[in-house]
């Protein structure tokens, strides 16, 4: 186990550095005409009194020094937890993110719970009744979930109830500390929709894993001992089948975080996704690179935690 942990930790350092380099390079090559556009947009805003030129924008982006120094400065700031300031509002990005991450986290967590509640029962049922009508219905539903465009589903839920019953989701964000019930009411609809969209992949994975496990020898032994189906499925099969499912569900984390962009902008939840959209619309590059690098690192570290837990739960992994 110790060897495995050390190996994993050794591999994560270069990956982490690569994450920062990718983000840095991604946002650093801003074409000149975009800088011109930013100058025009920022001058038109009128909130800044001093005259804005291409030079000042470059300086604010830190592009006035050679590339390697830029990267060093940015990386240094990252290690100190300083992601720089917004070009437009001059507010520190780290502070803004610390307010917004909990909102996206709540949305993501509720969505994940919904996805599991939908995916696991249907996936398991589909596997133990393979090739029956129920299995076909379950599989069709799973593919339907994968195919449904989340943004369309969200839009429909906003449009039709408002036409039919004059009901619309609340558009002012209520913090959970102020009114937990109202807060939950606000989150539950986007979370259920997001969970539905996500459940398809997990459902299919659950089915495949269950099918694989159900064909193993110890399951045959369990049957021949005369155990009831419920015991064979729940006690013997599910235990082994669900470990990889959990890892794969964790692998969907980037998709989950990406999904917050869509649902937060439809349901006006001021989380990371909405922050990203606002920053993209204003071309606020320090925010864009800040969000990308934090999310990349978050996913990387969470994956590490999941992998280590997995290795701890399932000894076969360590000896690969």
């Amino acid at each position: 186990m110790t060897g495995y942990v050390i190996r994993r930790l050794a591999l994560i350092v270069p990956t982490l550095l690569l994450v920062t380099i990718i983000v840095f390079l991604l946002v650093r090559f801003i074409p000149g005409d975009i800088i011109e556009l930013m100058v025009a947009e920022m001058s038109a805003e009128g909130t800044v009194t001093t005259e804005i030129t291409a030079e000042t924008v470059r300086k604010a982006l830190g592009m006035d020094v050679p590339v390697h120094i830029q990267y060093g400065k940015w990386l240094g700031g990252l290690f100190r937890g300083d992601l720089g300031n917004s070009l437009w509002t001059s507010r520190p990005i780290t502070q803004e993110l610390s307010l917004r991450i909990p909102i996206s986290f709540e949305l993501g967590l509720l969505a994940m719970i919904t996805a599991m509640l939908i995916a696991l029962p249907i996936g398991v049922y589909s596997a133990i009744r393979q090739d029956t009508t129920g299995d076909y219905v379950g599989r069709t539903f799973a593919i339907l979930c994968i195919s449904l465009p989340g943004f369309w589903l969200g839009t429909m839920v906003v449009v039709y109830p408002s036409i039919w019953w004059n009901w619309s989701p609340p558009l002012d964000y209520i913090p959970i500390v102020e009114n937990p019930l109202e807060n939950l009411k606000q989150f539950i609809i986007p979370a259920v929709l997001m969970g539905m969209v996500m459940s398809g992949t997990t459902m299919r994975m659950t089915r495949t894993m269950m099918l694989e496990v159900l064909r193993q020898d110890y399951i045959r032994t369990a049957w021949s001992k005369g155990l009831m189906e419920r015991v064979v499925v729940v006690r013997h099969a599910m235990k082994n089948a669900l470990i990889p499912v959990v890892t794969i569900a964790a692998g969907m984390l980037p998709v989950l975080i990406g999904g917050t962009v869509v649902f937060e902008s439809i349901f006006a939840l001021p989380g990371v996704g909405l922050y990203m959209i606002e920053a993209l619309n204003k071309r606020d590059y320090p925010i864009i690179s800040g969000i990308n690098v934090i999310m990349g690192m978050l996913v990387l570290l969470l994956n590490l935690v999941v992998d280590l837990t997995y290795a701890w739960l399932d000894p076969r992994v360590r000896y690969r």
Binding site: L11, P14, T15, L16, L18, V19, I22, V23, L26, V27, F29, I30, I34, A127, Q130, D131, T132, Y136, R139, T140, I143, L144, I146, S147, L148, P149, F151, W152, L153, T155, M156, V159, Y160, I163, L211, L214, R215, R220, P254, V255, L256, I257, G258, G259, V261, V262, S265, M276, I277, L280, N281, I288, I291, N292, M295, G296, M297, V299, L300, N303
Partner: protein
Amino acid sequence: MVEEGAREVWSVAEEVRKKRPLLLDLLVRLVREKPLGTVGAIIVLLLLLTGIFANFLAPYSENEMTLLDRLQPPSGQYFLGTDNLGRDMFSRIIYGARISMYVGLGAATLSTIISTIIGMVSGFLGGKADIIIQRFVDAWICFPPLFVILTVMAIVGPGLLQVILVLGMMQGIGGSRTVRSAVIGIKENVYVEAARSVGSPTSRILLRHILPNIMAPVIIVFTTRMGAAILAEATISFLGFGIPPPTPSWGGMLSGAGRRYMRIAPHMALFPGLALALVVYGINMFGDALRDILDPRLRGGLGRYSGVKRKRAKKYLQESEAN
């Protein structure tokens, strides 16, 4: 003696090869074994036909405005109603199929090529090259795909070509893992060793021996990528960073004016999304059936939870009893 045996094997192989062309064989099995997959295939075919012949199928041109007929609900004249500028929604959805077809085929082709190259090189070479390439892939797939796509789109600017290139690159790097693991499974085969021992260069081994044998996962990757690319294009166009108006992208139709007028004219938001969902569903169904047919590991096993259909099993038992 040995020669005779070899000849026999050869003649059997020849017979099998003559029996049915591979593609036709696939098609026959699809129709026979996978009814839902066949429905998916028909939807894909319809998308392609609609995309190619959009000019002939659409009753109006995609940007033809009849300002007197703004926000009309579906009627005989306007099959799916009109939008806020009096453009026929049905025609716009048909032209939207062309955009989705371009994005789906373009991005999926590009990403499959990238995945195959990265996956083959990384998987076949192994060792240090593999470790370095895989760290890069690891780092890349950490990013929420939508975030990276939006970031790059915000830098390169909106447009059809940009969308195809960005989606293709994005998916290509992430998808290389599937190809890599297929290559690793295959490169230990004796025929690869044989090819190497007679002195075939690496490039020849990759092209003549590895590539044909990973075609199944590559085709599967292609179909899943196609659906994902169409969905991703619609999503980023919806958020306003994909294909700019007035080009009729299904996702774009739901953003901007589509959102502003949707309380008065909900059909403006309903139909483009419905078309999108149907097409992606069809592609995924087709891809799924293809995966079942192409992947030998997924064929049925034995025992209580076998893949053999109950009815077929019962029939088999009755027959054997009768004999």
